[in-house]
Symmetry: C2
Subunit: 337 residues, 2 copies
């Protein structure tokens, strides 16, 4: 991995999950917050054809806002783009829906630059089982295992954030490379007094993820967070320290799950896709109010500052704010032949 020149006195800052409506004000917030790299979402329920359109739109953004952002498909790209004072955008899916039923589409979307793919979004698909399903079944025996092997071979990072626990354990086992939970919190720290309790991850799972070299991105998303919309910077830093105490300093990072700029109707698409006419979850159909201390990526310096006061060495802090993600990206995007 090429060495990055120190910038603003620290290593690269990576947010492993943001899904804001892509437009210039958002890219400006990334720059104000010193965000070097963001994993964005091309598809929640989109199929192959839908996703081609989304990719086309992003390329228009790269053209129009090339002073702020550029597409990264390798760690060298990320470092080069960060050095140029811009934010590196990593293409990802929150669902295998763009692969539809076709193993050959994994390669096609890799060729289009997709580097991170979550196996399913909340419910059962042909690959995996989501956190809204029971834990009876996990990674599917036929297509699921084919997709994992293909992603390993091509160099795509597997994301398990919205999968059920059995899918997570199955995939950690089935994958020849480390995997990611880009955006979820530890259930044991957060507790079960939150709206989306099945989205967070158990302690045994976080341990298994780390043991196999994976990374978990922690989120300020109020529905996943102790204290909800009232949660504080202190609680977030406590949670990151708790996770580092649990599995060591090489396995935690940021994965905000921040979404801003969407019309509120979008929430129905995220929750119900095309598979239902309304959300199957009995939770608020409104966007959650983000905590006062973190309302946009421009608030990232507060998180970095908060963590800096927790007694980490400079090298440790650099791992947490982005180095762990960069290490995992390097390991999984360029697999040994």
């Amino acid at each position: 991995m090429a060495k990055k020149e120190p910038k603003a006195g620290r290593g690269l800052l990576v947010d492993a999950m943001e899904h804001s409506f892509p437009e210039r004000p958002r890219f400006e917030e990334w720059r104000r917050g010193g965000v070097d790299c963001v994993h964005i979402t091309l598809a929640i329920w989109e199929d192959a054809r839908d996703t081609l359109k989304v990719i086309g739109k992003w390329h228009r953004h790269f053209e129009a806002h090339g002073d702020l952002i550029a597409l990264a498909t390798s760690v060298d790209d990320v470092e080069r783009i960060a050095r140029s004072g811009r934010t590196a955008v990593v293409f990802g899916f929150q669902n295998t829906s763009p692969f539809e039923d076709d193993i050959d589409l994994v390669r096609t979307f890799h060729a289009l630059g997709v580097r991170i793919v979550q196996l399913t979004y909340n419910i059962q698909n042909n690959v995996a089982n989501g956190c809204w399903e029971d834990n009876d079944a996990g990674l599917s025996k036929v297509f699921g295992r084919n997709v994992v092997a293909e992603m390993n071979k091509l160099g795509m990072l597997i994301d398990l954030s919205h999968c059920n626990e059995r899918t997570c354990f199955d995939t950690i086992e089935a994958s020849s490379l480390p995997v990611a939970i880009t955006h979820a919190n530890p259930s044991e720290f957060v507790g079960m007094e939150i709206e989306l309790k099945r989205r967070n991850k158990s302690t045994p799972l976080i341990k298994a993820l780390a043991k196999h070299g994976g990374v978990i991105g922690l989120s300020m998303y109020p529905r996943l967070m102790r204290g909800g919309s009232d949660s504080s910077l202190k609680t977030f830093c406590d949670m990151l320290c708790w996770t580092v105490d649990l599995v060591g300093v090489d396995h935690g990072g940021f994965g905000t799950d921040l979404y801003t700029g969407w019309p509120e109707a979008e929430i129905v698409w995220w929750r119900a896709g095309r598979f239902a006419r309304q959300s199957p979850l009995a939770i608020s159909p409104k966007f959650a109010e983000w905590p006062r201390w973190f309302r946009s990526p421009s608030d990232f310096p507060k998180a970095v500052e908060g963590l800096a006061k927790r007694g980490f060495s400079r090298a440790e802090l650099d791992k947490i704010i982005g180095g762990n993600w960069m290490r995992l990206f390097g390991q999984t995007w360029s697999p040994a032949p």
Copy 2:
């Protein structure tokens, strides 16, 4: 249900599953065999767009071969077409793949005349789990249950032939209407010395199906049949009598699973779809040789004659050769509002 005038001295003959390449010689075989109604397959792995094409092709067949076949979307249609000396074709899917991820497509395909839909073909999809998967998971909690409710509401018969047993039990329970296994055999009768042992159905499942008013169609397909390609008319009649002894005369019928006229390469599509590059099953990649006594629908009179010698009353025989299917079609295609 309108009364059918007796024809050839018996009730309607229904084959609840044939998937031969559609062309005139096949339709002529139906007429020679006295087949009044056939459930055919529009989709194995086809998505919505693919299936629109297949439906268009069938309408060209109805136009070109209207002397032999016509589309039926109600039991009245079936009886009217049969009275006219033609074979009624019932549109069906062997997979929910044409619905893709969209609950609204159930209604669209109902409007196009689709009346029987199998929930999955061998593997896990977003609705159900297939017989090649383990039995850990069944009908999916969110989309699967939505699809079952929508099919019940619109009037589509649910088919469980290639599903795993847990999906079958879940669906029998979840469906407000009786369901079908259009083409599978009883494992207990056939034994496990066959190539596709996971496709046949257990005795507890067949009992549950019947208890809820369903029907199972029995098949001469060698890979599902005791004796394989050497199986005899006697064995087939023994199997049908065994099933009737088990669950009564109202729950068994024909579901040959006959496929003829395809190029042999088609088998790769059936087994591997787009989800793999070769069959995940370690079985012969060749078409099976059908038993000498049943090589085409024109052999149906042998089956009827064989059963007639087993001491059934005329009314009982009429149920078995087609009356049970007609009763189930009537119950499920026109649900009470």
